[in-house]
Every structure is written in structure tokens, then in C-alpha cells.
């Protein structure tokens, strides 16, 4: 791999990392608005407020960067980067077209799961370092939630890895067949629910429950660092949606996979992202105990059952 190719891949991933979350964010703005009988942003950029998030970014840059005096200074300042950068790494491993991924590592499934877990660590750091009771409570809730929901995600993905017989996303997507959508349906549901919870999105946004905790672990953040947390949230949606699209929906599989494969991957990921937004609008927030109950009494057993079914299927040679 030449240096030029490395640069091209890195830059294209960076561009995707900076544009796709904004696309999801804008979709959320408009879709949520119309689902609530509103119009959403209409003026920024001229046409239906397409530049609203760009304008928001400009606003965030202009704001003062405040570090509370009692805060654990370095941890506090580092937390947004810890939250954001792992999603960049995760995005780089996602295959976009047949045989094309920015980073082709043998165990990319493990890498992507590890990276998203590290991203959640940023929330914990922010909550602990802020020297704020709301932030601390939010961070603790986030910790409890991440511990609970990491497990179903890993189990569901492990089931897919067993079914495909590989830990590489490229190989897994290559071996995907539509039959998997039925066979792995419980695992897909578990992954989708757990991914929304992992991202701390409504209805699983207990850690940032604004009526109780102001903004949870992000309470003390201002300006660009706060924007990084928001960007991390939407980058998380992008990564989780694309991961779901490649693993369960077949990624580039569709008409003309060699030329239009990237389009199918992005479209499937977009549909999943729309579902994540839709769920946010339609459903109320779960209480903390309901949240834990759902994870341990429903998602984990369901994922284990899926793992068993997959194991039986692999041994029997389905």
C-alpha cells in the first residue's frame, strides 16, 4: 500500500466522519420536526435550512471554552477527544464496497467493538472530571448503562461472527446471504436496541435526562468541546447504523454490487439511522430500573439464545 493510497483512505474516512454525522443530524432535525408537526430549520443556507449544523458549528467555535476550577483539568479537557476519536477508528474499519474498507484488519469486528466501548469511556471521564453532581450522576448512570448493554452487543455480533465464520467485516459481509436476515433476526433486534442504548439516545437517554440531570456528563462543557460530544453522538449513530447495515442487512449486497455497492451500504445505513431517529421521537424515556431490566432480563438472554441457535446452525451446516 503506497503512501498516497494511505493518505487518500485516511482523508476519505475523515471526510466521511465529518459529513455523515452532520447528514444524520440534519435528518434528525428535519424528520423530528415533521414528526412533531413543525418545519425544523428553514433559513440557514437558504434551502430548507441545510446549513443549520454548519451554523451551529460556527456558533460553538465562537463560544468560550470553560474549564471549571474544581474540575480535574486534564481529564476534563481530554474527555471529548476520547469520546470522539474511537468512532473515527471504528468508521475506518467498516467496509463500504466489495473488498473496500479504509482499514482492512483481520479482526475488524473486535476492533470496532473495542473502539465503540472506548468511546463510551469519554462520557465516564467527563462525568467524573467535571466536579459537578449532575455530571457525576450522569457519568455513573452512563457507566451502569454501558456495562449492561455492552454485553448484548458483543453477544449479538459474536453470533454473526460465528455464522460467517470470520472476525473480519469484509469476509462476513462477503458471506452474507438474505437467509441470515431471518436466521439472525433476534440478534439483529438485540443489537439495534443495545446500540441505541449504548449511544445513550432516547429512549435510553437516562444518563443525559435533561429534566433530572441538566445534561448529564456534559453539563459543564461549553463551546467546541461540547460540540465534540454532540458530534461523537452522531458519529456513533453513523457507526452503529453502518455496522448493522453491513452485518445484518448485507452491506453492499444489491443490484450491481461492484459499481453501486457503496450506495447500498450507505442507503441501508441511512435507513437504520432514520429508525434510530424515529424511535427517539416516538418513545418516552425509560426509567433507570426499566433500562437495567430490559438489558439483563431480555436482551442478554435473547442474545445468548441467538448464540445457541447460531452454534447449532453452524454445526449442522445451515
Amino acid at each position: 500500500m503506497s503512501v498516497l493510497e494511505v493518505v487518500v483512505r485516511a482523508v476519505s474516512v475523515l471526510v466521511a466522519f465529518l459529513t455523515l454525522p452532520l447528514l444524520v443530524g440534519q435528518t434528525e432535525h428535519k424528520l423530528m420536526a415533521h414528526m412533531q408537526g413543525r418545519l425544523g430549520p428553514m433559513y440557514a443556507g437558504g434551502y430548507h435550512g441545510w446549513a443549520q449544523l454548519v451554523a451551529d458549528g460556527v456558533k460553538f467555535v465562537q463560544k468560550e471554552d470553560i474549564t471549571p476550577r474544581a474540575a480535574d483539568r486534564w481529564v476534563f479537557r481530554l474527555a471529548p477527544a476520547v469520546a470522539l476519536i474511537p468512532y473515527l477508528v471504528a468508521l475506518a474499519t467498516i467496509p463500504i464496497a466489495p473488498g473496500v474498507a479504509a482499514i482492512d484488519v483481520p479482526a475488524s469486528v473486535v476492533l470496532i467493538l473495542a473502539a465503540t466501548s472506548v468511546g463510551a469511556l469519554g462520557t465516564l471521564m467527563a462525568g467524573w472530571a467535571s466536579a459537578n453532581k449532575y455530571a457525576l450522576l450522569g457519568g455513573l448512570r452512563a457507566a451502569a448503562q454501558l456495562v449492561s448493554y455492552e454485553l448484548p452487543i458483543v453477544l449479538a455480533v459474536a453470533s454473526m461472527a460465528m455464522a460467517g465464520g470470520s472476525l473480519s467485516l469484509l469476509t462476513l459481509t462477503d458471506r452474507w446471504s438474505p437467509w441470515w436476515m431471518l436466521w439472525q433476526l433476534p440478534g439483529a433486534v438485540v443489537f439495534l436496541v443495545a446500540a441505541v442504548a449504548e449511544l445513550q439516545r432516547p429512549p435510553f437517554d437516562m444518563p443525559v435526562a435533561d429534566a433530572e440531570l441538566v445534561m448529564g456528563a456534559w453539563t459543564e462543557y461549553t463551546g467546541l468541546r461540547f460540540a465534540f460530544f454532540l458530534l461523537a453522538e452522531y458519529a456513533g449513530i453513523v457507526v452503529m447504523s453502518l455496522l448493522f447495515a453491513t452485518l445484518w442487512l448485507g452491506g453492499w449486497h444489491g443490484p450491481f454490487p461492484d459499481t453501486l455497492g457503496w450506495l447500498w451500504t450507505l442507503l441501508k445505513g441511512f435507513v437504520v439511522a432514520v429508525c434510530v431517529i424515529w424511535v427517539r421521537v416516538a418513545w418516552p424515556r425509560l426509567r433507570e430500573d426499566q433500562l437495567q431490566r430490559l438489558a439483563w432480563l431480555w436482551l442478554v438472554p435473547l442474545a445468548l439464545m441467538q448464540l445457541m441457535v447460531t452454534g447449532v446452525g453452524v454445526v449442522l451446516g445451515w
Binding site: 424528520l31 415533521h34 414528526m35 412533531q36 408537526g37 413543525r38 418545519l39 428553514m42 424515529w278 424511535v279 421521537v281 416516538a282 418513545w283 431490566r293 432480563l297
Partner: protein
Amino acid sequence: MVSKKAGSLPGLLKGMVTTARTALRPTQTAEYPDVAPDLPPRSRGVIALLEENCTSCMLCARECPDWCIYIDSHKETIPATTEGGRERQRNVLDRFAIDFSLCMYCGICIEVCPFDALHWSPQFEYAEVDILDLLHEKDRLSGWMATVPPPPALDERSAEPAEIAAANKPARGTGLVGGAGAAGGAAGGPGARMPRTVRPRPAGAGPTRGAAAPTEALPAGVPTADPPTGDPTEALPTGTVPPPAKEPLTGTPESVPDDSPTPPPVDEQT
């Protein structure tokens, strides 16, 4: 938990269906600065002043609950129009201001104005950076008059407006009583109904001119002499003219003795 889950699942789906249906429906949003709001008639935006109607009677300023109307006026003396007549005094409006930073838009000033000098205008876009600029002086208040809409149409089968009802109301004594009805019927116009009794009238003086006869008789008698400018010496001969003007009044009792006071008020209406 199982039964609870089974019970909540349709609810979750219902929520998603509801949001999706709302998303597909066009929104009702009117984007205000681009689209003018469709305000109902009688919207209370700003108070407009029709300066010509204002007599500086101060009723509005006194009735204003938060005293936000400021009126300054002075009296001017109008010389008598007729020689030896009484001088009259007239209020001249110097300042009329409404402080819209105090106004609570109750509309009492508009209700209370006896001369329709104040009107509601639906215009509401007069926000200011400085609160002191919300004090609208006379010229600015008069400028709002252009935005005052015509009064909305009356509801179906509603009562007539008071002015029209008063004008349409037949004068007292019409119809059955013959002599008085002859006078009251003249409100419909000069040719509507002539008096049944033939009255001797000065030539050229129609029935409508009866009331104006004293003033018109003056220029007719002395065309060049305006009453204020008339010299006392010339006034003496003109002083003899008014008696002929009173002749119709004195003449009518001779022919119709029973309803002599009625013709002047009836003719004033026309």
C-alpha cells in the same frame, strides 16, 4: 413482565405510527416574516389617531388605566361670524402621544372616544431597540390611520348600526296625523311630499332652504358685505335685511297656524 410487555408493544407501535403519520402530513406552520399573518378583524395592534376628529376632550387620557396618553392643547378664539355675534372658542391639539411601553392594549380609550378619533389598527410591527422610542407622537399615531381596516361587515340578521337606525327612524308624528306628517315627510327630499296646505313662500326658496334662509338671505341682500368686515354704517341697512329673512317663519303661522314650529327642525335634517 410478560403481560406488561405484551400490553406495551402495541403502544410502542402506535407511537411510531402516529409520528410517521404526522411526518407525512403537511405542517400548519406559517413562516411569519415571509408570510404575513392572517389576523382576525378587530386585531389590536396599534392605536391610530384621526387628528381632525380629536377635540382634546381628554376623555381617553382620563380613562386610560395606566395613564399612557399625553394630550396638550390650547384654546383658540374664533371671531364671531356674524356681526355682534358671540366669539367662539375651539380646542387646538398641540400634542397627542401614546406611550406603547405602558399601554396594555385594553382599548378603553378607543371605546370612550366620542368622536371616533382613535382606532385600532392590526399593524403590530413597531418594536424598537430603545424603549423610549415606543412613545408615539401625534404624527406617528396619525400615520397608523392608513393601516386601519374598514369596519368588518355586520353579522347576518344583526341590528342596524346606531347611526343608520337613527337616520332611518321615521320622525315623530308622521303618517297618521295629517298636519304634522306633512312636515315630517319632507325628510325624504324636497319633492317627496309637498305640504298639503299651500303656503306662501318667497320665490326661489324651496322647502329645503327654509333653515338656511336666514344665512342665505344675508348674502342675497348684501352680496359684497361679509359680516365680519362689514362697516357699522353699512350694517345698518343690512340690519334691515334679516327681518325679510324671518318672513317665511312669520308667514307660515298665518297660513298654517297649528304647526308653525315644525318646519325648521324638519328641514335641518335634509
